[in-house]
Symmetry: C3
């Protein structure tokens, strides 16, 4: 699956496409991308973090992409640019383009008569497209996907295997949904009545903007009455849970295993660490960063980084320290008492 058979590009060709300065031989022909550590002589690698300077020194890569500060750190033919990691992303895409759709509906797919499928879309084996659904130009619907009634999927979107989209949801253009993703399942809407839960019908939908990517087995619930909205350019990692009526602002990235409770509003350009939690009905400003394993229980109205994880330690130490957590308020009270006492004149004691 590696790009061993793709064509080669000279550094000159690469720089013509993506910019940057060339240092060293511009005619060097690159055949593949690789890590500094495992690159061979036909590879281009990159340095995005000075932590890896030793690997730059030791690399067998034929060429590298570096930032301006590292221009002189190697003699390997190189492209010098402002943002080596983004540059590398573009070069890697040049060598590893996303495979295009192979137009046509597989004979084992089940497409309702009232569905509209673009002629150049690819519908995989055993995929199911229900009535009134629309599949845009150049889409790839993977094997075993189930697309509910009236779902609209924009052009150039790719669903990997076994994705489920419930009725009425809307997916933008150039979206990627990984295997096992579920879009539009019922939100957790329940009313308690005489000791039993009464289900609240979930009649909103999910609306996903353009250029969104959603990781494997992530779930996005439909809105209770209004819609759940994921704005353009949002990137969700694997196994994230998005509750009903959540809104995630454009270009926000969220790492794996995070849970977002119902009606939370997350701003644009946020970065949210893995296994974090966002409480329901709160609002998070644009540009907020949340650390891994952090539970956000209140609205955050200004950018910055927020953290709330318990730092690990050897179990024996943890046993002793964590036990004190249950006495913290008491400990604080005792310190106040000591302070008060220490301020009293000592001589008054006979």
């Amino acid at each position: 699956m590696k790009d061993s058979e793709s064509r080669s590009y000279s550094l000159r060709e690469i720089a013509r496409r993506f910019g940057g300065d060339i240092a060293g031989n511009p005619e060097f022909e690159v055949r593949r991308v690789a890590t500094l550590e495992n690159a061979g002589p036909d590879c281009i690698a990159f340095l995005a973090n000075t932590r890896y300077l030793p690997q730059l020194k030791a690399t067998r890569a034929g060429a590298v992409i570096v930032g301006k500060a590292a221009r002189a750190a190697t003699r390997v033919p190189r492209i010098v640019c402002a943002n080596p990691y983004a540059y590398f992303a573009r070069v890697s895409t040049l060598f590893n383009p996303a495979p295009g759709a192979q137009p046509g509906v597989h004979p084992t797919a089940v497409v309702a008569g009232s569905a509209r499928v673009a002629v150049d879309a690819e519908i995989g084996p055993c995929a199911v497209i229900e009535g009134g659904a629309e599949i845009g130009a150049g889409c790839v619907i993977g094997a075993g996907c189930c697309i509910g009634e009236g779902v609209v999927i924009g052009a150039g979107t790719r669903l990997y295997a076994n994705v489920s989209i419930y009725h009425g949801c809307v997916v933008g253009e150039h979206v990627i949904l990984h295997a096992g993703v579920v879009i539009g399942s019922d939100g957790f809407g329940l009313a308690m009545e005489e000791g039993r839960w009464v289900k609240v019908p979930q009649v909103g939908c999910v609306v996903i903007g353009n250029d969104v990517e959603i990781g494997a087995n992530t779930t996005v619930d439909r809105g209770a009455l209004d819609d759940t909205v994921i704005e353009e350019g949002v990137k969700l990692d694997n196994q994230i849970q998005v509750g009903h009526n959540v809104r995630i602002g454009a270009h926000t990235a969220i790492a794996a295993c995070t849970g977002i409770a119902g009606s939370a509003k997350i701003g644009r350009h946020c970065r949210i660490g893995g296994a974090s939690g966002i409480a329901g009905h709160i609002t998070i400003a644009d540009g907020v960063e949340i650390s891994t394993y952090t539970l956000i229980t209140k609205s955050i109205d200004r950018p910055g980084t927020y953290t709330g994880a318990y730092a690990f330690e050897p179990h024996r130490d943890w046993l002793r320290n964590a036990a004190q957590l249950r006495h913290l308020a008491e400990l604080a009270r005792r310190v106040r008492a000591l302070e008060k006492k220490s301020k009293q004149p000592k001589r008054s004691k006979p």
Copy 2:
């Protein structure tokens, strides 16, 4: 997908079905349900929390459902009742009834000869029903579902797309399983022997009671020897993990991303917050509430609310404060020493 084409009901008709007092015009015709915020003049909305009183004042809804305390808070035609949210759930269900089964087995479904499928059940495209399985009256088995050997599914149960149920499991009546749910996978039973894990066969099953709802991509493991049991009326949100031999008591609700380790017994009428954890082999009493992100490591024998989450703060503050966690036991010791010292007569020092 909204309910725009369903019939209308007057407030009088609604109150005749579900009770409550009408204030204002009883002939007002409702066509849809909506939030206070987004309702139009043909909608009925509801107020279940005084926090939203400003939205009640501003609503364009044609009618509202309110509690007794809010009877006079609006002039909009209204139904006054004891439990507005549950009332609203019933009204919303009136306008948005769950779609019924469309009887029949899709030609691409694979139903074993020894399976018994009720004549009015709906078996979706590419669904697989293995030998000896029984599908009850009025069931809907979604596209791509896989129902293992000997599985029994009660009447009126609905499985959305791509649900997998392993052999021998039993699902009650009027159950809802959302897309990607897995029921009856092997529990995590392993014995260590000379540096290698030996698999312990998981030969119990999963038994799910009536009126249970299970959210998307939730997993419920089969028992090791005895069964894993989910009692009637339990509501599980998305991406919950239920270990082998767990028992969840009737009418307990558990929010998303929670993990329940093997052999835990959870009582009836509990409410468990999202991303919480329940340790194995413990027992939780009826009526317990557990907060979001809380790990329960010991049995709880009385009702109440239990919490154990780390409160977030700006990262810089967290760095300073969390570092002290590792010195808490020492800090407590130092405070004790100060207290002891402060009680000694000072004059004894020459």
Copy 3:
């Protein structure tokens, strides 16, 4: 689904296969395995933990497996051995052998012409095997599985329903993948450029060793450039997330809901509790144990048990204590001030 129809084995036959000493009647015929609590007179049960001695006293089991210390704790016919739980695992497997493959490709499966499927492999209904894939001898590919281009699956491996494996991944022999597992989805590789995320192509693969078991709905991302590797004998529970370029050492077991961030290296023979988190780019030594709900943020270079969970308490107490967390650094400063003050000679204050 219980083993009621399998043949019986005498204690003598069992001990001949698996070793151990027999105390009591060696001709006792065992028909089933069971828990001490629910065993009937034709069952063999086991005692692996002295905590369950009362259940041993009360059991109706016809035979039991016990350790040497418990040899005299019962008069029931018994096998005495060094490791009763592992012994029980083997006996249970004798009574409950994994079902073998039923050779053949189901007529609704879709197997590419260039795929190679062993003649004795079983390919279930609606499974999809793409071009160039290889399915080894005796494999079982469950209903609805999607096996990507060029995937290689070793002999004796079993995939339950609705598993998705992306192109190019390699799965060893005697591996078990439970329903909903996703192998080889794209890692979360993104470069930020002018306020937008640029996707970094994920061109590595996933390589899974022999005798690995992976639980339901667990996801394993493909490597960015090099591969993600799960070594032989690793056991992963349900709903675990394994990021790109992670390496998990042989015979490590990880409980459910754990998240492992990109490029983390986990040693051999580790035991990792449920819902824990491993940060990216760190290394964990062989033989490390990590407690449930613990976030590991730094490399661990020696064996031992590490913990970092917040201990729960009644909500009212938690409110008071957790509030102090935000003042811990200040509290420590105040204690230092008190200590300093208490060391000053008091008499100097005239």
